[in-house]
């Protein structure tokens, strides 16, 4: 996408990727093992364009590990990950960002010595065209683009309702706000698919509710596809089009929200305590 595409998306309220026959994101038989622990065991996973997909399961089920495999932080032992039909299993995380995969972290992923604004600016890294030399020697292009980067950062912050905090340092912010800033920063990378790892942690129930609305809104306005890990089952059931349930690294169930709702009893039988936490 071009550097201005986010602007465009914000203005038109519509930005759907080209129609393709491939699913947006497709993981096939992904397995990974840490020492004695099979963290993921032949997981199949698929996300179509414009969907909001939930990934649930008890603690230690391998949800974040799966995110790490998709975003390139872990290399799966076996299995492939494809993006719009292109095999991305061997790409570095930053190369995957270039393709349009954006993610947040379970524990706030921000640069903590930067202000809110600087965080959103640095996240636009790949949208900046000039090179290091141009920057250090002060080429006209670098000056012009820096203004653009700054404006775009303000735009994203405005969209997230964080404009008033632009110059704030992170240590003055609440946990919930930090999570919002993190989403703003990832939007700065101009993603097609947004992978959120427990976005509700640290939010009050009302705030969680509002964040659900915000996700639905982002899909409409920015044409985003969303994958979300969340423990809060009512939220997942409300927001998601499709849900995957992971347990001990294995796919326990998948389906549309009403199927999963019905399945929860079964899940409990498998997961015991974990399912209680889920419900």
């Amino acid at each position: 996408m071009s550097p201005g595409s986010l602007t465009l998306a914000l203005l038109s309220g519509e930005l759907m990727a080209d129609v393709v026959e491939y699913p947006l994101l497709h993981a096939e038989q992904v397995s990974i093992r840490f020492g004695g622990l099979q963290a993921l065991d032949r997981v199949d996973f698929q996300v179509n364009d414009g969907e909001i997909v939930g990934l649930i399961g008890p603690n230690g089920a391998g949800k974040t590990t799966f995110f790490n495999c998709v975003s390139g932080f872990y290399a799966p032992d076996t299995g492939r990950v494809a993006y719009r039909g292109r095999d991305i299993t061997d790409l570095r995380p930053d190369q995957r960002v270039h393709l349009g995969i954006g993610r947040t972290f379970q524990q706030v992923g921000l640069v903590r010595s930067f202000t809110v604004l600087e965080n959103v600016m640095v996240a636009q890294h790949q949208k900046v065209q000039y090179d290091t030399g141009g920057g250090m020697f002060g080429s006209p292009q670098s000056w012009a683009e820096e203004h653009l980067v700054r404006d775009r950062a303000f735009e994203v912050l405005d969209y997230m309702g964080l404009l008033h905090l632009a110059h704030s340092r992170l240590d003055g912010l609440s946990y919930g706000t930090l999570k919002q800033v993190e989403v703003a920063a990832v939007l700065g990378t101009d993603p097609d698919v947004l992978m959120l790892d427990e976005p509700l942690a640290g939010l009050s129930p009302e705030e969680g509710e509002a964040f659900g609305d915000r996700i639905l809104e982002m899909r409409e306005e920015l044409g985003l596809t969303v994958v979300v890990i969340e423990h809060h089952v009512p939220f997942v059931l409300r927001v998601c089009d499709y849900i995957y349930v992971l347990n001990f690294g294995q796919l326990l169930a998948e389906g549309e929200p009403h199927d999963i709702r019905g399945n929860l009893a079964v899940a409990e039988a498998y997961m015991g305590e974990g399912a209680t936490a889920l419900a």
Partner: protein, 377 residues
């Protein structure tokens, strides 16, 4: 040995404290396996890798060839290598002990040796160390033995002071910050030595002199024998200590500070204990290093031994006491080998020991960062 009984208990204590959702922090699971089994494992691992076999074969051929080509006397090599290696080992032991308990790489470990050595010197000259006095009253070697005891106690005390007033205050900082802080402490000690004793070398008596016996025509000095005996003694003392209640508590704290605290072990007291031990080892190492040189000058142990001892500790695996001893002796053998090789071949290459040291450091950290006996990278 010291390391194999390493806290099956501690692992159990730690087992409940796993809060993380995912991650690679699961290495501790296998930590309880005993040393021999893991060594066997390691050999098997090596067996499988063609690179391992290839390197071993090529390395063996090169060493054999070089021994003939450079006319290296094996006895001389072993004696000199074990002598400097034993000093590396003693200092590395302290580094490993301190690192194990507080996760601090102590750059001041060298000066924790030089300062006590200077103190011993001051005691021997009855605190009159200006030029004129030393000529009139040369160091009184008869006081060396009790000066040693004072020096070791002071070394332990100084280490505790560093821990209490510097390292513990930086407990929240990154390990690198703590390293820089201890480097500051080292610089502080060096310049204090310069201010008090001036930047020059001073004659230092030895505990023992003369040759003990000879192996294959190579004389072995009593000094060398003493150094090796001291190292053996330190190993025995440490091994015994880690079987006592306090020793087990120390290991448990090193493994799982939080869980240990919950089960009534004072983490602070344990870190003090470890630093005191490290300081005492440093003082012993410093005195022996001084005797290898036969004289003492400010910054001696830091400039001549510290970097090698750090590399030795890493070679052994940083958290492993056995590793520190083996690493030190190995590094001593390697550096002396490099020296003999290059002199024997008549090459004009400066600093063979430093070349060997950097090579060992790079190879270990790039190929096997957890060292020979370490459990974590």
């Amino acid at each position: 040995m010291v390391h194999d009984d390493e806290a099956t208990e501690a692992v159990e204590i730690g087992a409940g404290a796993d809060g993380a959702d995912d991650g690679r922090g699961l290495g501790a699971v296998g930590a309880g396996r005993d040393f021999l089994a893991s060594l066997a494992d390691r050999l098997r691992e090596g067996d499988r890798s063609p690179w391992g076999i290839g390197t071993a074969v090529v390395g063996g051929v090169v060493v054999l060839w070089s021994i003939f080509a450079a006319d290296i006397k094996i006895a001389r090599w072993l004696i000199a290598g074990l002598e400097s290696g034993a000093v590396y080992s003693l200092i590395a032991l302290g580094i490993a002990l301190v690192y194990k308990s507080t996760r601090v790489l102590n750059y001041a470990q060298g000066e924790l040796g030089t300062v006590p050595a200077f103190l011993a010197y001051a005691l021997m000259v009855s605190f009159r160390w200006s030029d004129q006095d030393v000529i009139n009253h040369p160091p009184d070697a008869s006081r060396l033995w009790w000066a040693t005891i004072v020096a070791v106690v002071v070394g332990a005390g100084l280490a505790v002071v560093i821990n209490t007033f510097l390292v513990q205050r930086l407990a929240q900082a990154s390990p690198v910050t703590s390293l820089v802080a201890t480097a500051g402490a080292a610089l502080l000690f060096i310049s204090a030595e310069v201010v008090i004793f001036e930047a020059k070398a001073r004659e230092f008596p030895r505990y023992v002199s003369g040759d003990a016996f000879s192996i294959a025509g190579e004389p072995v000095r009593w000094n060398t024998v003493l150094i090796l005996l001291v190292l053996a003694g330190a190993v025995v003392v440490l091994a015994t200590f880690f079987r006592t209640r306090a020793g087990v508590a120390l290991l448990a704290t090193a493994q799982e500070p939080f869980a240990a605290e919950l089960s009534g072990v004072s983490v602070r007291a344990m870190s003090t204990l470890a630093w005191a031990g490290g300081g005492a080892l440093a003082a012993i190492g410093g005195l022996l290093a001084t005797m290898v040189f036969g004289n003492l000058r400010p910054g001696l142990v830091t400039s001549q031994y510290l970097t090698f001892a750090l590399v030795a500790a890493v070679l052994g695996g940083l958290t492993s006491m056995v590793g520190a001893v083996v690493g030190g002796l190995l590094l001593g053998l390697v550096t002396v080998y490099a020296n003999l090789l290059i002199t024997g071949l008549g090459w004009d290459v400066p600093g063979p020991p430093q070349i060997a040291m950097l090579t060992v450091a790079l190879v270990v950290l790039l190929v096997r960062p957890r060292g020979l006996f370490g459990k974590e990278a």
